[in-house]
Symmetry: C2
């Protein structure tokens, strides 16, 4: 199994635990993150068989048809050409091999109390991610992207997170420490780019935190796609089987 | 069981089939719709025990604590004071009785290809519903509304519709004939109110239909709440038990 964009190994631990017999090849671009990922897997999935590579997605040192499965979680949303990436990954899959792609879509963020300032702060994050070559609205596009990259049997399912005060672990773990933390992390860039004033930004963040308090609600949808590399298809550099 | 806002009986049929032993009291405001609802139930749930009432939600001819369960689907989103309605309905529930509330939230509409014109057309529908005293963004508010109306044990779950070409029945039944049809129905009002030009509106609708074609995707979330009328609580006109 090939994991692309393993980051600090959060998903690698899940993969290793879910498939203890699997041989996992985990690829990341940051040596520092890879070191953290190694330590995390050693601590939380000590028997896992993981090989680590520091490499760019488009320069992977693997032969064609090397893998049974490719896993890419929160990766496509950071790429300027996700279609090209999916095509490159298909080359690494054996015919009949499968790919799992998971991404969010910030357009699905719906919350109470609603706030134009909060929505503007989220819009800053979307625009900055776009300016960096990514796409924070990519979840809705997984089906056409995989289809256009030549995969078969593309199936997409939404995974909706809904948090209110009856689900305190989600309010804390998702609303506060995942979504709002992610928006907050672009404060300096948003202000430097003149996208919002500091006062408006701070009000937007305060309003987002109100959605995590009593009476508040927060909704967000992730999209998970599964697809197959066609058995009979020629890929860029291997013959049809 | 009391069904509020039964319309032409679509949900009444489901309720009667799901609970064939239930005594259902179905309330609507339109005599024409009620006649259709009667005919629909007679055709599709012939053994159902349904009493029909043409009445306003705030002037229901029932004694306090009359019902074990209240069902309100796509009703709150049309009311100017949904909190008052929920309080009035609680009076009709026996202590320990339950309520089910289902509403959508147009803020959750996410689609591909994205289109500013399509989003503007949806925004027209939201503004017109608001001008008529309703709220097309109410799904996210079900938890605080029920809590503030004095219900206990409020639990809300999202039900996400995701349609792409692998789900043709949903593309047709939901994207085209439910969501887009609903937006299209306000064309005259939107143009008369000067919210969009006819050209922009027509482009918005065309763009919405593109999301129902090959390569398009559509996402929408409904919110379903279940809550309990407290056993020990005094209601507006009945003593505490």
């Amino acid at each position: 199994m090939l994991e692309i964009g393993c980051g600090v190994g959060g998903q690698t631990v899940h993969l290793a635990r879910a498939s203890p017999e699997a041989h996992i090849t985990a690829v990341g671009r940051s040596p520092e993150s890879l070191a953290q990922a190694r330590a995390r897997v050693a601590a939380h999935a000590p028997g896992a068989r993981v090989e680590w590579y520091c490499a760019d997605l488009f320069e992977l040192p693997f032969p064609d048809a090397r893998f049974d499965h490719v896993f890419a979680c929160f990766v496509l949303e950071h790429l300027s050409d996700p279609g090209r990436a999916l095509t490159a990954l298909r080359r690494l899959l054996r015919p009949g091999g499968t790919i799992t792609v998971i991404d969010g879509d910030h357009g699905s963020a719906v919350f109470h109390p609603d706030s134009a300032y909060a929505r503007a702060a989220i819009e800053c994050q979307i625009r900055l991610q776009s300016a960096a070559g990514g796409n924070a609205l990519i979840g809705r596009q997984l089906h056409p992207l995989l289809t256009q990259a030549g995969y078969d049997g593309v199936g997409v399912r939404p995974y909706t997170v809904y948090a209110d005060q009856t689900r305190p672990a989600l309010v804390d773990g998702f609303t506060r420490h995942t979504f709002i933390a992610m928006v907050e992390s672009v404060r300096n860039d948003a202000l430097a780019a003149g996208l919002m004033t500091a006062d408006d930004w701070d009000r937007g963040i305060r309003d987002l935190y109100r959605t995590a308090q009593a009476g508040g609600t927060f909704h967000y949808t992730f999209f998970k796609a599964l697809a197959v590399n066609p058995s009979g298809a020629a890929t860029t550099s291997s013959p049809a089987l």
